[in-house]
């Protein structure tokens, strides 16, 4: 069913492109004449539609800044709409691209944009960024954290900029500091042991935890797909590439990747770790659990790897007596190679979609520029959401410094602590190539990791290899 829907949506897009070619011409795009052509602040009333996924708390922040925007540009109405989740935004945009009713601005992930690009209705933001009237100054561009800004160019042609970062997060490692301190454990900084006394490896630490508390599941990792992809980056093993030939895009079916899956499989079979799919919920639930099971045992994890934006969920609730069950530590995730540190970059970007009236695109850009170059908005959005600002200047605001100063290992300071860790690993951020089918690769390696590490203990090597082959074949089938 999912395949059919994806196919149908793609057909819509292709059909839309076909209709355009057949005479339902878009208005002449005066923007598309080089990077220095002039755009301007539109005159007269203009409405810009903005699709996003924000809940009430974040929407309140957005609306506050729309009100500020409207004090400067009262003729531009921002029709902001919360559509649901990221996938729902994608589906809605794809449907509306077919009807020519797409929003001017949409929250997006790179995979989404790769799909939208088929419609030829994604605006190359360089046309605006480099515009002599309304573009960004060099200082404004330099204010973006470089790794985040570069994500907009990952669509196969580095001369094009299809997205700008909105807010970002990464994965961090939460650990039960109280337990670690009490048992003299060191915080792991790499995955695999180099020897029996390698006490800073994840492998050593989770085995030690299991010895101390046999009923525990020492490690929980929320996103299986992130884990697989991050390991390929850390180990520099093949995952995907953006090329024309479908069969050459999916490279994850290889021995090196099976090697790390085998190691994680042994951890899983020995009760040393779990993941969201295996556990059946965010593993923060296991990390913060204080409830007993039917046998009267409280089953915990002591390490939880999850989104930096979810820090408050990794912190146990304050007990009614005012104390916390334990103190939470945060560290960067373990690495495979200290000389090639890699952590995944997540969080929404925004893209602009072409409108029949180019004035709407001009207005959309004015709003994007207002929002994304505002350190105040970035800081406030960050403090409310748990995501981190994409502008360096946001970190320099007194309010954000105060926020950082309040970082601690408890509920009232954990979000700030998480943001700090994100900043510290800025140079290690990576993103994967985005192309039509890259989301299938992501989905498939996530499922693959789950099925591989949780396969029956007596599964043969051939059966395990077949899981890789099946995942690869599904990617090919979905994209042919």
């Amino acid at each position: 069913m999912k395949k059919f829907i994806a196919l149908m949506l793609l057909v819509f897009i292709c059909l839309s492109g076909f209709l355009t070619a057949c005479g339902d011409k878009e208005p002449t795009d005066s923007n598309n004449q080089g990077s220095k052509t002039s755009h301007s602040v539109p005159e007269g009333d203009v409405t810009v539609t903005f699709y996003h996924t924000m809940g009430k708390n974040l929407r309140d922040v957005l609306v506050k800044y729309i009100e500020k925007f409207n004090k400067i540009y009262p003729n531009i109405t921002i029709d902001e709409q919360s559509i649901g989740g990221y996938d729902d935004v994608r589906d809605q945009v794809i449907t509306e691209l077919q009807a020519g009713k797409q929003p001017a601005i949409a929250y997006c992930y790179p995979d989404h944009v790769a799909t939208y690009l088929r419609s030829k209705k994604v605006v190359d933001l360089n046309e605006y960024i480099n515009d002599e009237n309304v573009g960004l100054t060099e200082a404004q561009i330099a204010d973006f954290i470089a790794g985040y800004y570069a994500e907009g160019k990952q669509f196969g042609d580095e001369t094009k900029m299809y997205t700008l970062p909105f807010s970002k997060s990464t994965e961090v490692m939460y650990y039960n500091k109280t337990f670690f301190d009490a048992n003299g454990l060191k915080v792991p900084d790499h995955w695999f042991s180099t020897g029996a006394s390698d006490d800073t490896s994840m492998e050593y630490v989770i085995k030690k935890i299991k010895e101390i508390e046999p009923t525990s599941i020492p490690l929980g990792y929320d996103s299986e797909a992130n884990w697989f992809i991050t390991m390929t980056e850390q180990l520099k093993t093949p995952y995907t590439q953006a090329v024309d030939n479908v069969a050459d895009r999916f490279l994850f079916n290889n021995e090196q990747n099976m090697d790390f899956c085998n190691k994680f499989r042994s951890w899983c079979l020995n009760g040393l770790m779990t993941t969201q799919a295996i556990y059946g919920g965010y593993t923060s639930g296991l990390f913060t659990n204080t409830s007993t099971n039917d046998s009267g045992i409280v089953i915990h994890s002591y390490i939880s790897i999850g989104s930096s934006a979810g820090a408050t969920y990794q912190c146990p609730a304050k007990l009614d007596n005012g104390s916390y069950p334990f103190e939470v530590g945060i560290a960067t995730i373990p690495q495979a190679d200290a000389s090639n540190k890699k952590v995944i970059s997540q969080g929404p970007s925004i893209c602009m979609l072409k409108q029949k009236d180019s004035k709407v695109n001009d207005a959309a850009w004015i709003f994007i520029k207002f929002l994304l170059t505002s350190p105040e908005f970035q800081a406030e959005f960050s403090m409310t959401s748990g995501y981190v600002p994409v502008l360096r200047s946001a970190y320099e605001l007194d309010a954000y410094k105060d926020f950082f100063a309040g970082a601690n290992n408890y509920k009232d300071g954990i979000a700030a602590l998480s943001a700090k860790i994100c900043m510290e690993q800025e140079s290690a951020y990576f993103t994967s190539p985005a192309f039509v089918g890259s989301s299938d690769a992501r989905d498939e390696v996530g499922k693959l990791l789950v099925s591989y590490i949780s396969a029956a203990e007596n599964a043969t090597e051939a059966e395990l290899k077949q899981l890789f082959t099946d995942a690869y074949n599904r990617c090919i089938t979905l994209n042919q």
Partner: protein, 455 residues
Amino acid sequence: MNKNSILKLLSLLLALCTVVSMTVTLASCKRDGPSNDTTVDGSGTEPADTEDEGVWEYVRDPSLPDFATMVTLNTSDINSDFDKTGRGLVTVEQYIDGDTVHFWNNSRTEIIKVRFLAIDTPESTGKVEPWGKPASRFTKSKLHSAAEIVLESNEEGEVTMDSTGDRYLAWVWYRPKDGNVWRNLNIEILADGLAMGKSSSSTRYGTVALNALTSARSEKLNLYSGKKDPLFYYGSAVELSIKSLVLNKSAYNATKVRFEGVVTKESGGGIYVQSFDEDTQQYYGVYVYGGYASLAPKFLVPGYKLLLTGTADDNESFGFQVSGLSFSLIDPTDDDTKILEKDVKVAPVVISADELNNNETLENVLVRLENITVTSIYTTQSTTASDGAMTLTCRSADGKTVTVRTVKLTNEDGSDVTEDYFRGKTINCNGIVTFYNGNPQLKLFTLSDCEIISQ
């Protein structure tokens, strides 16, 4: 696109063009429902409803497609337990909101907490969002009027939980009392514009779900109408005292309110706040839910005097509380929570057993009971955080019975406090006045709030 896909697409478009008549009339569903209806839980009574404020009338245009019947329920194995087989008859245990309901499984052995698949309705409990109440009423009215309800998992024979690990994800089917066709409520909610999608297209009924949502958007129904929710309070905050708020709960239900108060205790993601009324020379208190806002812990601190703006809400899940607070460290608006003063000392009000038992206006106020003797103890045994919490039945010096409810208490060394600590002792106790099943009790949060005065 191959020929089969084109045919499928054309079939779908034809189905969309099929006009199925349907009329749904909803107003205040509690008042509209026949008073002698038998509910699907067979009890003849429905769970208490506090949502009887405001009027929302919605009549679906009968010329619109009936998406809820464009998918079909496999009824061959519905006489089983959903939690075991992924499909089964259920009865309502408790309505929560538009996309969450608790059911009894078919054999009535388990309560199934269900988060509806593919939809995300605006919030109507904990915090209230525009169109949250209509969505909640819609769900309730459909299930209340159902002859039978079936839950179905997304994957055949395999139940899955939501990301919290606490709620089953399910399709909710119902058969109206006046019909034989099973209707898919998730899709119906999408089609009537009362929810956003939640990975809708990736589900077993993804095509219809997505079309239902697209139709609701293009028809501009409810949430997508661009109109205001008639059940949501859009006005400015009403500035009042806690006394006015809690003595007029129904008048301020679903209203944005602003008041000052001092935080006395933190509990359950929220705070108890109280303020003193000069006229009556009495404290009045209210519970304020802070939610998971990452800035909330910086503001909701015992001893802080706060200016709070939120929505008063009386609902069956959480009782009366104020929620929907906002926080900002940069250029705060009038509606953002403000710290007026720190380190404010609030001494508990010494009350008698009679006052605890008979003065309802003391609810949520920090009080002190003196010289009460523990006569019996009940300890909660459960798999939740309340495991080890105790209910102390006590006798006052003047012979009155009062109830003290503790949280799970710990000694200074971290060990659990057991019944032996309290058995037969005479104590002084500080705590918050709360109500359980309509009965007043003093809630004790820490051992340091309890002083043993005789063994």
